[in-house]
């Protein structure tokens, strides 16, 4: 008896996090294609009200692990609870978000269950009932497709903002069940403190919907204002290549790339960025890349949807003014 598709949703500040709707969208589609059910699991404390929201997003069944000990992520505790749930329900497919917490949970669980996991997937599809999991590798230079032949569940984590979120339908109903939580002897690491990043002005780089990044092609720190003015006009976060942060033009926290922040905006505008693998690794999840560079052979154009070959000193101010004008 096939046991369907299971997703592990997440909360942020007491509400469902955006990844939950993305998992619901792809999970529902896979379950429908298999003719099976979709089960959503949620961890937290005082989350009873979110069961209906997960139902509205498409779940047939919602399992709530609602316990004070689960109010924030603690790897050992979440792992123990999820391992028990998955062993009991034995889903064919198990999907989680590629988020700082659940990517850790997913990998540990895959080893406990002795099954296969593909992390950071940007596409999932079924072929003859088998899940084909696609992800960028080698910093986005290549695409890999993985399958899990024999072991079950077939596990994947999905890249944030790579999948269409499900649209809630209030008419949808689901069976909402509490999960018994027993953590005797499982918790080895202890959370002493949780430190939230101080809010900066402007959107945060890693979850910004629009990002403007500058590269070495700007020539020097005195030209960084071109990037900042465009970003301010767009309400965008500011990113940079490693060359720029290494040179100290902007703090390292702005670095987008393999050794920096991974961004997944709808719009990623690059100015004077050549498109080294190092950098592409951090922005290949952007839905639309725009390249402004005077070198027509720059690699960034291979990743861009729109491009302008020309001197940014003229292109960017004109672009910035035109955007202001369009927005009235």
């Amino acid at each position: 008896m096939p046991n369907g598709v299971m997703i592990v949703a997440e909360t942020a500040e007491g509400s469902l996090a955006p990844i939950s709707a993305e998992l619901s969208g792809v999970g529902r589609a896979l379950a429908d294609e298999l003719g099976q059910t979709l089960t959503a699991v949620l961890f937290g404390s005082g989350i009873g009200g979110l069961g209906e929201e997960l139902a509205a997003l498409g779940a047939d069944r919602v399992l709530l692990a609602d316990d004070d000990a689960l109010s924030e992520y603690q790897g050992d505790a979440y792992l123990a609870v999820l391992e028990r749930i998955v062993r009991e329900h034995a889903p064919e497919i198990l999907l989680l978000g590629q988020t700082p917490n659940l990517r850790e949970l997913a990998a540990r669980l895959a080893f406990r269950l002795e099954t296969g996991l593909t992390t950071d997937c940007t596409s999932l599809r079924l072929e003859d009932g088998v899940l084909v999991m696609t992800k960028p590798v080698f910093g986005g230079s290549a695409i890999a497709e993985y399958v899990v032949d024999d072991a079950r569940p077939q596990m994947a984590t999905i890249r944030p903002r790579a999948f269409e979120p499900a649209t809630p339908q209030a008419s949808r109903q689901a069976e909402v069940q509490p999960v018994a939580v027993s953590l005797d002897g499982v918790v080895r690491t202890r959370v002493l403190e949780t430190v939230k990043e101080a809010a900066t002005s402007g959107p945060r780089l890693k979850d910004a919907k629009t990002v403007v990044s500058g590269g070495r092609g700007l020539g020097g720190p005195e030209n960084w204002k071109y990037v900042e003015e465009l970003a301010e006009t767009l309400g965008a976060a500011v990113g940079a290549t490693r060359a720029v942060t290494d040179a100290g033009w902007v703090p390292a926290s702005h670095q987008v790339g393999l050794t920096g922040v991974t961004v997944t905006p709808d719009l990623y505008v690059t100015v004077g960025v050549s498109g080294a693998v190092q950098h592409i690794a951090g922005c290949s999840g952007a839905r639309n890349i725009v390249a402004i560079n005077k070198d027509p052979d720059a690699n960034i154009f291979k990743h861009a949807r729109f491009g302008v070959v020309g001197d940014y000193r003229q292109v960017v101010p004109a672009l910035t003014e035109a955007i202001k004008a369009l927005r009235g």
Partner: protein
Amino acid sequence: MNIIVTIKQVPDPDIPPSHFKVDEATNKVVPPAGVAPVMNGYDGNALEAALKLKEENGGKVTVVTLGGSEARDTLKRAIAMGADAAVLIDDPDLRDGDSYTTALALARAIDKVGEYDLVLCGRQASDTDAGQVPLGVGELLGIPTVSPAIGIEATDGHLKVNRMIEDGHQVLDVPLPALVAVSSEIGEPRYPPLRGIMMAGRAQIPVWTAADLGLDPSAVGTGARKTRLRRLYVESREAQCELVEADSPAEAGAALAQKLREAKLI
């Protein structure tokens, strides 16, 4: 404090993308001529963290890698940086393994090195970007496992680990022995001093096979893998980019704004 650091040798992520090629018949990357592979970046961060902990607390740092004989270069670099010993796991059955068989071999090798307080790893490798092996090694060893760490401090049989979360970090108390996978925020790897480079040249690096680790070929070969790479390819990206052209760069900038509006991106 005795520390074991797992290290992977990877293709240099700074190679120009135009030099990056895949053999689709074998699902393998064609090594670019003249560009030497390097120590995975996050593994360099892990080694740096290990060397700092050793400097503060004493003990020994051992590095372990799984790879072909060419991976010796990366182990020698680790010794040059300050590692005390290195082990190469090399076995045809273990090559091209998945996260599962790789973690299994590393966990067995760590057990064979023995007497460790801490295992440090890079949070993920820049080739497959999977980030599974460190967590798998921790599970297989049955020790507390934390990833990704941006700070580590040793205190009397425990670690205080700063672990990255969505909007900040958690401070965790972690009893030893434990496995911690680190992110780049923990600190840039040092350059090997000349004395280290000379020592690395003389270093003896033992080679362990699957059999040395008590692993039967059936436990680590193709049949033991949980995940199968079905296809590896380079996406055709030519001609996808719409170049916005105009009489002057400024007009092109204005035309670009129009395009972005039409595409509903602004």
